[in-house]
Symmetry: C4
Subunit: 259 residues, 4 copies
């Protein structure tokens, strides 16, 4: 299977995992940059992530124009993704979500910050972008590239931007990276909400956050989670064949060592 | 299929979706105004929404009398619906729910208000109606048209009325409209409950609320959610055939554009 | 089917419903007084409620002795039930549960009280019984009739007693009555927990509570919930045949009235 | 079946139960000391607990070296387990978890303590171990025996140690013991979080905690829970045959005693 085919399969897995883990519901989406052409990205047509299959994937220019005259309806808010890819060449995957427990931090002054090790993936800080600041009273949706670029600008060099009264945008080096970030961001938010009510608390230090992000999303620790999430979401058959298979399933040496 | 048949199917879908999304449990109900005769409405007989099928749908005059001598037991509280239809000609669908996270706002003075974009569907404010004010000590159920009309009067021009110690009544332009409102109202309540504990917070502005409600419930954004909710609730086969089907499932042009 | 056979079936349903609705987990139990012999009661042998089948039901004297030399292991805490039946002749069914959201109210001074209409079934107040007061330091389990009677004495004429650091005991006129009470007690507790953080709140009045309890647990409103809970728990086939069936499933008159 | 075979089966059950009850997710693990060789322990290779089968079990020296040249990838953090077995000869099973509701207590000064009877299994106190104190800024993972031993030292004679910003390590006399502890620790944490907001609360006394831990994890009370958890996790077929079977499933004497 080509790297491109696997990228498309991984995008389907990412859609289903984010839905199954409660990060997205009827709304929210995930995209991946084209692995061979950095000026394009892949994303589902306008369907809820839980229902996305390989047939639903469309291809876009970074400005949100569909490639090849694809006439299907795209997500209105795809510009969140294109604008991030445009501004951040090192970013290859993005998620937009309305995950409930992150939402309070988008409307208050208390900052969302990492307090658990799996929350470290969010990075040092999550700037809040308020669409009203520059675009006035809207329905809060990011409907064009100008708005998308303003959001990407607020995101700056960070990994997560909170969108006031709406949700968040997350940027990762790969699908596995952005999915682990998006899955654990709401968990970190819940722990922080509890801790804030108990008084002073000890967050992750800057060095700890750096060392968390440095854990390779293509390493074994993330592969274990990817297998788990994909299996739970009913997508195990779409996963790339792991290179470790022969050793993993064991043989005579393993059975002999059992006692 | 006639518009009437589809309205009845949509009513079954709405019942099952509201149950599956946790908006109603053993109790709670949803109704739709007759699409050809505004003096009548459809609603299930007395069954829990998760169990409702097309066979359970009854037809009522606005005063709650069953049409055609239908002898089945109706919901005791159907008058919530009839009274809203009577007072509000522009309203075509209604929900009554005891959704847990909305309930606190019915017994305190802190107002429920939209703080997230999907909460904007609730409108500007949700007046609290206390049955005790006019009817004294009851079992809190709305059991006749007089009580229903008093509730509808408290609702006034709004989209949601909180019922003290009991639940809420929601009014929409269509089933899709009132379902999206009812699904996201508890989510908005939860985010607000968290935000209230974190200090000052930024709610949606009046203009933003207007623009949220203006998003057509028959447009693609809501159609995506309806497909998702219906599929999750096991009702995909009851959905109206989407007009977008041919384009959506793609053909040669799409496959060609994939790389 | 005899009333006795149906009582045993209903007891199985009650076990499975309480498990499925999250009121009990590995622990907790429900019993019913013998419908023909008030000096006896039925209860499962020592199994988790979700796994209980008709074969697991044992019969006990009120003092907790198994009838007929039944050698199976009973619940250690069956004395909670026997002592309540002994003291309260009008009570025919009892539940003991560790439902999580009720537990905080057993260790603090803030009283648990009805704030939502479905919470009205708990009655006016829930006295707290602390096993330590009379029996010193124990493992908190009610292991003999002396402890059971002390608990029943603390319950007095109420419908729910909180057991400090342990759970609650609930008493009802029938299985349907005590199940609806036990299902909605945690919901009422959660709403109260939220309301307490929002400031002053309006509870149910004494008259409203009386009118809630007066809603017959054998009437249609509770039958609707019983059907729903049993169906969700996979026990629909164990339900008593409803007398309303012919009318309910409709005939020509109903189909004719549809439009 | 040998005691060794059953130990391995029980380890699979423990993995699946902890996943199914929400104690572990993609991450977290459980181990058991070798029943015949106290210098060794069993643990899955690097897989998420929900996916673990008998084939995944590896055997380790206490220093974390795989036995018999097993080349499969082990959990990076297996040293948490080996170090506890090394220091605590009476401990035969261990769990490492990131259970969400326990996490707040690892970053604040409010102590986690037992407030419900099932929480008594955690013991008198849960010391907090901060990896940063001795090892500086890390990715918070316990990646070698030196770190594992420091954690085991902080645990001391207790049953649970909280790991700052990361999770907890729990130690039990057997798999059943440590599983019941790990399942109820998050529940105890949630009840405590609620109680702390309600004001003064009454925790378990020292004597009560002792009496809770004294409840034999191989007795009937825990066997009931083990059967329930294993059945829910789809592992009923892996359970040891209960000795009570003949009596339990009843015979003529039981059927006769039914009325």
């Amino acid at each position: 299977m080509s790297d491109l085919d696997q990228a498309l399969r991984d995008l389907v897995i990412a859609n289903r995992v984010l839905a199954n883990e409660g990060v997205v519901d009827a709304y929210g989406h995930v995209s991946v940059r084209h692995p061979r052409n950095p000026d394009r990205y892949f994303m589902s047509c306008s369907r809820s992530p839980e229902l996305v299959t390989a047939k639903d994937i469309m291809q876009f220019h970074l400005d949100g124009t569909a490639i090849g005259g694809d006439a299907r309806l795209p997500y209105v808010e795809r510009h969140i993704h294109g604008a991030i890819y445009e501004r951040r060449p090192e970013i290859n995957a993005a998620v937009h979500s309305h995950a409930e427990d992150v939402l309070p931090f988008g409307i208050v002054t208390t900052p969302l910050q990492p307090v658990i090790h799996s929350g470290g993936f969010m990075g040092h800080r999550a700037p809040i972008w308020d669409i009203r600041d520059k675009f006035g009273e809207t329905n809060l949706l990011v409907t064009n590239m100008e708005q998308g670029r303003d959001l990407a600008s607020a995101l700056g060099p960070e990994r997560v931007a909170l969108m006031r009264g709406h949700g968040f945008a997350a940027a990762g080096f790969s699908l596995a990276d952005v999915v682990r970030l998006a899955v654990y961001l709401p968990k970190n938010a819940r722990v922080l909400l509890h801790a804030l009510r108990l008084g002073a608390f000890k967050p992750l230090s800057a060095g700890e956050i750096e060392k968390r992000i440095a854990i390779s999303p293509s390493g074994m620790e993330t592969a274990r989670a990817w297998e788990y999430w994909a299996t739970r979401a009913g997508c195990a058959s779409l996963m790339a064949k792991p290179k470790r298979t022969p050793a993993k399933r064991g043989g005579a040496h393993r059975r002999a060592s059992r006692r």
